[in-house]
């Protein structure tokens, strides 16, 4: 049994079919990359997996660790180990990053029957991880993502992933808008997430990230369908030839 099993998934947004029958298994220990042009349904897939409202699943199923993922609320999915790194992390004025991270961590710990971490313990937990990601203490005291640069927001997403230690991480264009240094830091963070009992679904438009996070499988998403799957070399192929042939294939 794979960690994530997507079977013939159909999704509509406001009456328009965006995902037109996707099937995909992500096994524990593996990194799958989904590549595709703008408008192919990549972000829809990530949002449906995270449980955002406004998406109508009209067919198919998604199982996570053997359970029906679509039956769970967004917060329950997160507590059970599904993590979405947002393409556009949200700014939340008035809530400090530290408070936010601690409440998120403790919500998961409560779910697993583990004792909550108090403020002192929590500081110890995050200190090492912030250092690795080049995140300053000052940033932790600031409201969540408010006034953060694009790179800081993405690092903050990776920090959250490092602290919450999810079993399934879905990263939605986490590489977009990053300079080469930030890309390395973020890639290191993603590689640190790799382990035998965890899966990663990397959603990206560009091949660039895959130089640093080498995927086990690559899938091409075009017009709501997976039109081709292959090994890591598929990404290089795409980099050379572009998406044009897949758009034609999906339309046919």
């Amino acid at each position: 049994m794979a960690l994530l099993e997507i079977q013939d998934l159909h999704v509509e947004v406001a009456g328009k079919e965006i995902l037109r029958g996707i099937s995909l298994d992500v096994e524990a220990g593996k990194v799958h990359a989904i590549m595709g042009p703008n408008g192919s349904g990549k972000s829809t897939l990530s949002h449906v997996l995270a449980g955002r409202s406004g998406y109508d699943v009209t067919g198919g199923s998604v199982r996570y660790d053997g359970s029906d993922l679509l039956q769970m609320n967004a917060d329950e999915r997160a507590r059970k180990g599904v993590f979405l790194a947002f393409q556009y992390p949200v700014e939340i004025p008035g809530v400090t990053t530290t408070t936010f991270l601690r409440q998120a961590l403790n919500a998961g710990r409560r779910e697993r029957g583990e004792p909550e971490r108090d403020a002192m313990e929590f500081v110890k937990v995050i200190r090492r991880k912030t250092k690795e990601l080049g995140i300053t203490d000052d940033l932790l005291k600031r409201p969540v993502n408010v006034g953060f640069s694009g790179g800081e927001k993405k690092r903050n997403e990776i920090l959250q992933m490092a602290i919450l230690e999810p079993r399934l991480a879905v990263l939605d264009e986490t590489d977009s808008g990053l300079d080469i240094d930030a890309l390395k830091v973020v890639s290191d963070g993603i590689n640190a997430q790799r382990s035998d009992d965890r899966g990663v679904l990397l959603i990206t438009h560009y091949q660039r990230l895959l130089d640093y996070v080498v995927p086990d499988r690559v899938h091409v998403l075009a017009q709501g369908c997976i039109v081709k799957s292959g090994g890591k070399e598929l990404a290089l192929e795409l980099e050379k030839s572009g998406y044009a042939e897949f758009l034609d294939a999906a339309a046919a």
Partner: protein, 438 residues
């Protein structure tokens, strides 16, 4: 006195309960109040100042004065403003209760006088009582002037410093509908400094109607930190007028926090009479159920070079309603005025309502003034972001609601008062979003 109750001016028959053995100043105040109240009556829909806040419901309960509280009443420490170490004066149903209050303050230069027996009040009370608040257009304050029964008067001598905050605690507890009209006076002498906190708490029982007036005079360079917490029951009417007069370089830091009540009106009227006077008035409210919370603020820039800043924020759920009326008047000779006011409301349900009416009336030509009002709902993108990190929905909404109100607490100058107000807000918000999160 002709104390005839009519449909438009109820409660005047309650005057019979008022002690007739009155010193001249008290009798004059009663007459003045009676005249205005008889003329204006209970405000109806066409009275502009009360357009959004209707008091019709007041006549549906048979409110009586002099209702005593159940025996053995104690101050609920978990609900009042958490001001450990403050000097407490406790009122129950409008009457001072010595046995629940702290013993007399020994601070140098501070006089505290109970007003239950006006005949015994010193000359400074006679001289100043009723001089700050103009009763015209203030029918409820006029009713208070006619009927008031008890209160406290505080005087700080020039240069005096109140060592501990003064905590006035008002408990409302009755088994039959009760009304009470307390009246208070504070005179802060030149260069004096004090912190005064009011906690108004309703305990379960019959409906109550509290109609209070506070007058405060800040002389040159005086600094007053003042906070008011209102947490009445869902059957309570709480109508309050706080009137201030600030002399040159005096500074007033006020905060008004409303957490409960059926109909609450906090009206604050500030006269900045001379150069360099400064008023920073902020407030927050949480209204749910059928609550109606009205904050009305009038800032009168009567002297040049004074500054005022008014910031109120409210969270409104269920079918509750918030009202903000803010008026800043800048008189012709009040040049170099700096006056700003802002109201922001967060609506948690489709049945929640807010009426905001910010107004600037400016006759001087060299001023910096501004006002603004917004109403919004919780940002669902923010809610989803928190959910996506595993934070349960009720908790996520509470966190965002607290964040919305958080910066208004930051307006409070005193860290001790800010902490107490913040704690009271957090306690209150723990309940509200559990009902709205689904």
């Amino acid at each position: 006195m002709d104390a005839k109750t009519t449909d438009s001016a109820p409660f005047l028959d309650r005057l019979e309960a008022v002690d007739t053995d009155q010193p001249d100043w008290a009798a004059a105040l009663r007459r003045a109040g009676l005249a205005v109240y008889r003329e204006e009556g209970l405000p109806h829909a066409k009275v502009e100042a009360w357009k959004y806040t209707r008091l019709d419901g007041l006549t549906r309960s048979a409110f009586e004065p002099g209702i005593s509280a159940p025996d053995g009443i104690t101050v609920p420490d978990g609900r009042i403003a958490d001001m450990a170490g403050a000097h407490r004066l406790v009122f129950v149903n409008g009457c001072y209760r010595a046995e629940l209050s702290d013993d007399g303050l020994a601070d140098e230069g501070i006089e505290i006088v109970n007003l239950g027996k006006p005949g015994a009040a010193p000359g400074w009370v006679a001289e100043h009582m009723g001089r700050v608040l103009d009763l015209d257009g203030m029918p409820l304050a006029a009713l208070n002037a006619a009927l008031w029964g008890d209160g406290v008067a505080i005087k700080l001598a020039d240069g005096a410093q109140l060592q501990k905050p003064l905590h006035l605690i008002f408990l409302a507890a009755a088994s039959t509908p009760a009304m009470f009209q307390s009246r208070h006076l504070l005179i802060a002498g030149r260069d004096s400094r004090a912190a005064v906190i009011e906690s108004h708490l309703g305990l379960e029982g019959a409906p109550t109607f509290s109609n209070s007036v506070v007058e405060m005079i800040l002389e040159e360079d005086a600094v007053l930190d003042h906070a008011k917490l209102v947490d009445e029951t869902e059957h309570a009417y709480h109508i309050a007028a706080t009137a201030l007069s600030l002399a040159g370089q005096a500074r007033y830091n006020g905060f008004v926090l409303t957490l409960g009540g059926r109909v609450v009106r906090n009206e604050t009227r500030v006269r900045l009479a001379a150069a360099g006077a400064e008023c920073c008035l902020a407030g927050a409210y949480v209204a749910d159920g059928e609550a109606h919370v009205d904050n009305t603020v009038f800032i009168d820039h009567a002297g040049p070079g004074a500054a005022s800043r008014v910031v109120f924020k409210g969270v409104i759920g269920d079918t509750a309603r918030g009202v903000f009326q803010g008026k800043t008047l800048v008189r012709q000779y009040a040049q170099k005025t700096d006056g700003h006011q802002l109201h922001k409301a967060l609506l948690l349900s489709s049945g929640a309502e807010v009426n905001a009416k910010p107004e600037l009336e400016i006759y001087a030509d060299d001023v910096k003034c501004g006002h603004g009002a917004t109403a919004a709902q919780l940002d669902e993108d923010m809610v989803f972001y928190l959910l996506a990190r595993g934070i349960p929905e009720a908790q996520a909404r509470q966190l965002l609601t607290e964040a919305f109100l958080g910066d208004v607490v930051d307006e409070i100058a005193s860290p001790e008062i800010a902490a107490a107000m913040s704690a009271a807000l957090t306690r209150r918000l723990a309940g509200i979003n559990a009902d709205h999160g689904a």
